[in-house]
């Protein structure tokens, strides 16, 4: 090396010298991060000091670390980018555990930066110390404790890479306070990726050809798509629509996959699974070829496993090899990114297979018979607002808007999935795998930060929403006019429904006797409160909610004892659904037998 080159190198090293805290902010910028959700504390003060001295990365202060995590998840799922959260050591990190596990189960790219006590104090039971990497190891895709400031930049870039590639997921970077103060060399994101991590994205061409052959010969096909299609980006949803159009196949989707194929599309059967439509579940049960794209045969989907779609030949596209053949054996496994594989499927179908749409006629005729059963029907009322009606009106009155929906967990979540029509991907944020009550309100905050001009609605339950209600305060602070649309029945509705099904209608602790006055609560936070009790007033009240440029809590008083149907009771198969018109008190009480009672 010449003297000049040496000099240049040492010069570069000199400019790239920075403190660990500076590196964190620099790495966020270099990875395209514009927003961070967080809460300060002793072990992250140096990073907060750096955030204070710049304007490129905006920090959204929440009221509880769990809120930061769900907000970052909502941000990630509505944009396709990684969500970022920043929390302190000890309780900051332990409060992050729920959103981390939530993101793990729903494959959400989430980068969580935690402060840690100084390296010299690690292991000494120091103030606000916890074994963050130990606690978060099983609820992250990967995590790191960075003990050397010279490793920090590489680890941060790798964290973003791991979170966003392959099957996306949450990562944690734990940074001791002395590392945040220490100076070291910053390296840019153009690094050598580690050799052990190389997710496979391109599907095996031979398997794809076999899939095409199976599909071409199908008389009773069905496409069952999931969240993997959403995660593969908007292009994957576009290709999915193209494939459905070319083949003429009926399509259903999991809770996580709603919006990949439009609810208004003519081949749409509605959601499948425990609270899916009759036509979707019956078609799954009776089909001869099943094309599963980016879904994982979860127990909410399959019902009783040994009676799941008994006569079909199954094709499964997934980026995660451990998801294939995990619950249901498949004949044609295709390991790869849904988008890439869909591209191949569309290309090969065009080139080789002639769609025998006429041959599918009897199958469609059968599906129409099932559809005519009208499994989402409910008894309308002029006196009380039926929760299904509330969701339908909300949909009708907001569909012309740029609307994003989040939910909490429970009956309201299922009614939202059943009755709100999703036309596009990334518009529907819900906690599917973990079923986290309290997800929706902070997630709505995250979505609103990413899309300031959009109409962001959290379809909520009165019990769930109280779990993270404090984030109303964050929404007001950050001028995020989220709409909290509470289907208030004063019960933990899904818990009560299961108590009716399983426990002789003994409603043990599922009734909330002392709910707050949600209108006053909204006002106390500096938001706007609306209460609606009559179906006739609902439309005007919803319009008012849309027009107010403030966070709104909408207390929609709905029929207290409505249950969510149709339903596949625990331990039953797809063709043993409990339909709303058959769900008499007696049928509900006897729907689940002794064995099914031990399940959830």
């Amino acid at each position: 090396m010449t003297g000049q080159a040496l000099e240049r190198q040492s010069h570069e090293a000199a400019i790239n010298q920075m403190t660990g805290a500076e590196m964190v902010v620099q790495a966020l910028k270099d990875n395209g991060v514009e927003h961070v959700f967080g809460y300060p504390g002793g072990a992250v003060l140096p990073i907060y000091d750096e955030l204070f001295q710049q304007e490129d990365v905006q920090h959204i202060l929440v009221r509880h670390e769990q809120g930061a995590g769900h907000a970052a998840e909502g941000y990630a799922r509505s944009t396709g980018k990684a969500g970022v959260m920043l929390v302190t050591s000890g309780p900051g990190a332990t409060n992050a555990v729920t959103p981390l596990q939530d993101a793990l189960m729903d494959s959400v790219p989430l980068v969580c930066i935690t402060g840690q006590v100084p390296t010299s104090l690690i292991g000494s039971d120091a103030f606000q110390e916890c074994d963050t990497v130990g606690i978060t190891r099983p609820c992250t895709k990967h995590n790191w404790l960075v003990r050397d400031v010279n490793e920090l930049a590489r680890v941060l870039h790798e964290a973003f890479h791991v979170a966003q590639t392959g099957r996306p997921g949450p990562v944690v970077v734990d940074i001791p306070k002395d590392v945040q103060f220490a100076k070291g060399a910053y390296t840019s994101p153009q690094m050598v990726p580690r050799t052990s991590y190389h997710p496979r994205v391109q599907g095996d061409q031979e398997q794809i050809k076999r899939a095409i052959q199976l599909m071409a010969g199908a008389k009773k096909p069905i496409i069952y798509s999931g969240g993997g299609v959403i995660n593969a980006g908007p292009e994957a949803s576009h290709l999915l629509r193209e494939l459905v159009e070319l083949t003429g196949f009926p399509i259903t989707s999991t809770l996580m996959g709603l919006g990949a194929y439009p609810a208004s599309g003519k081949n749409w059967l509605g959601m499948l699974g425990m609270h899916g439509t009759f036509e979707a579940n019956m078609a799954m049960h009776d089909c001869d070829v099943m094309l599963c794209i980016g879904a994982r045969f979860d127990d909410r989907i399959t019902g009783r496993l040994d009676a799941f779609s008994p006569n079909s030949r199954k094709i499964h596209i997934d980026i995660d090899p451990s998801s294939i053949n995990k619950n249901v054996p498949v004949e044609v496994p295709i390991l790869g990114d849904c988008g890439r594989v869909l591209e191949d499927l569309v290309r090969l179908w065009r080139a080789s297979a002639n769609a025998d749409k006429a041959g599918l006629q009897p199958w469609w005729a059968q599906i129409e018979k099932w559809r005519a059963r009208d499994s989402l029907a409910y008894k309308p009322s002029d006196d009380v607002i039926m929760p299904q009606y509330a969701v339908q009106r909300l949909y009708e009155l907001t569909k012309e808007h740029d609307v994003y929906i989040t939910t909490e967990v429970g009956q309201h979540q299922m009614w939202a999935a059943q009755h709100f029509g999703f036309e596009a991907p990334n518009r529907w944020m819900t906690s599917g795998g973990l079923g986290t009550m309290g997800y929706g309100l902070p997630a709505a905050l995250g979505v609103q930060i990413a899309h300031p001009d959009a109409l962001v609605i959290d379809i909520a339950g009165d019990a769930s929403v109280l779990m993270t209600m404090q984030e109303m305060s964050a929404a007001v602070q950050h001028r995020a006019p989220i709409k909290i649309f509470i289907l208030n029945n004063q019960y933990m509705g899904m818990v009560r429904q299961w108590q009716q099904l399983l426990h002789g209608n003994r409603l043990s602790h599922s009734y909330t006797e002392a709910l707050p006055d949600f209108v006053k609560l909204a006002e106390a936070y500096g938001g706007h409160g609306i209460r609606c009790e009559k179906p006739a007033d609902l439309d005007d009240a919803i319009r008012e909610m849309i027009e107010v440029d403030l966070p709104v809590i909408f207390d929609c008083r709905v029929a207290n004892l409505a249950n969510c149907f149709p339903m596949i009771p625990s331990g039953k198969a797809h063709n043993e659904m409990l339909l709303p018109d058959e769900a008499t008190d007696e049928a509900v009480a006897n729907a689940i037998d002794a064995k099914g009672r031990s399940l959830v």
Binding site: S196, S322, A594
Partner: protein, 190 residues
């Protein structure tokens, strides 16, 4: 529909396992970094898989690679899951099911060896007998005084089990075992 009918199995997976459980030896090549063993062990405990034996050590110092040898047990379906779940761990480079590879190469099973230290104390005939049997098992004496022997024995698991069983009535004091180290026969690597 006919929701009140026959008692059924489960929405979860409590259907009867009809497949037989079998033992397998896995070689797992990992980056030797803090926490990697905890990740592997946590995966087994978290998902309810069995570990019969586990050994680990850095095997390539320049590349900081460690090789973990795990003897596990499960149905073919579970064993496939174990392999895939291990492969999901970011610092895991490769997972090779040595038992399967051995079969593919026409062998009954991979080369598997274990080392044990076995301490036996006693006097008189028992002491003579212990030494005579140790000789028959090709165990080395690595420490002794007039009242004890400490043997080092290497071999297949079954041989070590047998040796320990024989030593029991002869004054067995304690045993320390390494767990199984394994690789396949033939010129090829893992």
């Amino acid at each position: 529909m006919n929701a009140q009918h026959q008692p059924t199995g489960s929405a979860y997976f409590i259907t009867q396992e009809t497949e037989h459980s079998e033992a397998r030896t896995l070689s797992v090549l990992v980056d030797n970094e803090p926490g990697v063993l905890a990740r592997v062990i946590g995966l087994f405990s978290g998902r309810g898989y069995n570990i019969d034996s586990l050994t680990v050590s850095e095997t390539e110092h320049e590349r900081h690679l460690s090789r973990i040898t795990i003897v596990t047990r499960g149905t073919p379906h579970i064993l496939m899951q174990i392999k895939h779940q291990l492969e999901r761990i970011v610092p895991v480079h490769r997972v090779v099911d040595l038992s399967v590879v051995a079969k593919e190469r026409g062998h009954d099973r991979p080369l598997e060896r274990e080392l044990a230290l076995v301490k036996v104390s006693g006097k008189g005939d028992a002491r003579v007998e212990a030494l005579r049997l140790a000789d028959a098992f090709r165990a080395q004496v690595i420490d002794a005084n007039t009242e004890h022997f400490t043997f080092e024995i290497t071999g297949r698991v079954s041989k070590i089990e047998q040796f320990i069983a024989i030593m029991k009535p002869l004054g067995l004091v304690e045993v320390c075992r390494t767990g199984v180290a394994a690789m396949n026969r033939g010129p090829e690597g893992m």
